[in-house]
Amino acid sequence: MDKPYNNKAWFLVVPVFALVALSAIIPIMTVVNYSFQDTFGNNQFFWAGTEWFQDVLSSDRFWDALGRNFMFSVIILAIEIPLGIGIALTMPKKGIWVPVCLVTMALPLLIPWNVVGTIWQIFGRADIGLLGYSLDQLGVNYNYASNIFDAWATIILMDVWHWTSLVVLLCYAGLVSIPEAYYQAAKIDGASKWSVFRYIQLPKIRGVLIIAFLLRFMDSFMIYTEPFVLTGGGPGNSTTFMSIDLVKQAIGQFDLGPAAAMSLVYQLIVLSVCYVFFTVMSNVGVDKPDARVED
């Protein structure tokens, strides 16, 4: 059977192809290119095979950084998701306070990462910062530059302050879209506040919650600016996350091969973790014919 042949179709495909090539394929291929070769400059390349990958995967430095990343993301999610839901639940649904709350909530999201870093870096300084000075006066020995716990606490606080709003706004959008009749029906049934949350609000905001969860995971897993501005990865290597390590290797030491291999591994981890999260969370509670929820 003869297929109709029309070359004009290329006009429709080529722009998309060019865009995707420029924005994704070419940059990634460059990185892939570096990860399998070695270079001594002068545009001379030597095939290195999987050597860089082996190097990266067998170095303690990589696994330590990866461990820090996971720990950081877990802490961030454990704080920001419940806190975000909690704040969204207490926000008014109508009236003049709605815009006030929304604007207040949106404010931190408008501030660039390095500004947040700088704000908290100064805020936490014991000599001139309000927080650092106050804590010092209260007798708390707080110093993010030398104490590992303080450095972590400060970075977590920065991230919570900066990004909880995103979770709040997403959850709030989900909550206000629940029709009033659901609450009335629950009231007529005599359902408790907890039951309303557990059986109406939570299932109804599940969709936005998955998005909030994924966004916060990806973003916290790619943490860079805050520790970079605050301590530059210290004290010691205690806040040297993968992205910081990557930059040190690629720009500091100009080890392009290992850096490229590491960024590919990094990207694969983010992708696969997100895929697992998404699959699991989308299936939780969807259709479990045998599982009966007891009140």
């Binding site: 009749a181 659901y182 969807v286 009966r292």
Partner: protein
């Protein structure tokens, strides 16, 4: 038995419900009929106890229940939207009110299966609402209302979002199923057809007032005032302002003999109401008023046509069977048959209704 005594509900400066009194018997079907925003939902919320009336009292079996929280009142309500617990199975959804009430598992199981059987949900008990069709979702909500054995069952336009066929089916079954529980059954709708099909008693609502509350057929056949007549007619009843001069009703240059039973009325201004399906485009036998009209729009819905007509300031709609070929701007005569007249006095209260409707 539920009694409302002079209840009013004011929100801000607007009256949502003004001075409504009605008493609803046990095991009876009561229809609240009125257009959108006429106060049906507001009235139901007051009956349920979700809102507190600004004034007046509500008696349930003789005792005042104003101020009693809704969860203590044994009320069930079903909404136009399909409201179920999204993460629970159909079984758990139906069981939920009994779980809150602390009913034992064996009873729960029996009653869930009973209700599911009546609502034809037995094959779907293990599904969650998201995996049901709209009709099944609404039947789940209805089953939940049914198992509660509530004294007062409020259905707020429950079939409005369902397709035609399901609506027909449930409309017939619902009053029967709920009447057997002995509950006071209240059903709100915007459609006069639905009120007629449900039977029982009908209260017509308009702008927060009950304009009439009586047996459904009586409200339809003898609406006590023009507002009720217009509410209980879809499209609204046609109204023609006329002057009675001696033995004739006069509208501009058209005239018709006054029906013999109202010959004794004083001369003056009256309003004649004629239902759209009683409008005629061909001259009938017997007395009728001929109006020279111009066609302003025609709507053809299936096998019926609505023809909108203008005649010297009066706007009328004629409902004709079959598809009619009339063009916009056509000048055609319309006939108002004397025997189909609803006659209202200058206070818009009914003076005479046709004997016509009871015959067809």
């Amino acid at each position: 038995m539920l009694e409302l005594k002079n209840i009013s509900k004011k929100v801000g400066n607007t009256m949502h419900i003004s001075d409504v009194s009605m008493s609803l018997e046990k095991g009876s079907v009561n229809v609240l009929l009125g257009p959108t925003l006429s106060g049906k939902t507001s009235l139901m919320r007051l009956m349920a106890g979700l809102d507190r009336p600004t004034s007046g009292s509500i008696l349930m079996n003789g005792s005042n229940v104003v101020g009693m929280p809704v969860q203590k009142r044994n009320v069930a309500m079903v909404y136009q939207q399909f409201i179920n617990y999204p993460a629970m199975t159909v079984y758990e959804n139906i069981a939920s009110p009994m779980r809150v009430a602390g009913v034992d598992q064996a009873t729960i199981d029996r009653r869930v299966h009973e209700a599911a059987g009546l609502m034809k949900l037995t094959p779907y008990l293990d599904r969650t609402p998201a995996n049901l069709s709209g009709g099944q979702q609404q039947r789940t909500a209805l089953a939940r209302a049914l198992v509660k054995n509530a004294e007062l069952v409020l259905l707020d336009e429950p079939l409005a979002n369902l397709d035609y066929k399901l609506r027909e089916e449930l409309r017939v079954e619902l009053p029967k199923i709920f009447a057997e529980t002995g509950a006071v059954f209240v059903y709100a709708t915007t459609e006069p057809q639905e009120a007629l099909l449900l039977g029982g008693k009908t209260a017509t609502l308009c702008e927060g007032r009950v304009t009439q509350f009586d047996r459904t057929i009586d409200v339809y056949n003898r609406p006590s005032n023009l507002l009720t007549a217009q509410t209980f007619s879809d499209p609204p009843m046609n109204v023609l302002p006329v002057t009675k001069v001696g033995s004739e009703f006069v509208f501009e240059t058209s005239r018709v003999d006054v029906p013999t039973n109202v010959l004794g009325l004083a001369d003056g201004n009256y309003k004649i109401g004629v239902r759209p399906h009683h409008m005629l485009l061909a001259e009938p036998q017997g007395h009728s008023m001929k109006l020279d009209c111009v066609v302003s729009t025609t709507e053809i819905t299936g096998s019926e046509s609505f023809i909108h007509l203008h005649s010297r300031g009066a706007h009328m709609v004629a409902l004709m069977h079959g598809v009619h070929r009339v063009e916009i701007g056509d000048a055609i005569p319309a006939y108002l048959e004397q025997k189909s007249f609803f006659i209202f006095d200058h206070h818009e209260n009914l003076v005479s209704a046709p004997t016509f409707d009871s015959q067809n």
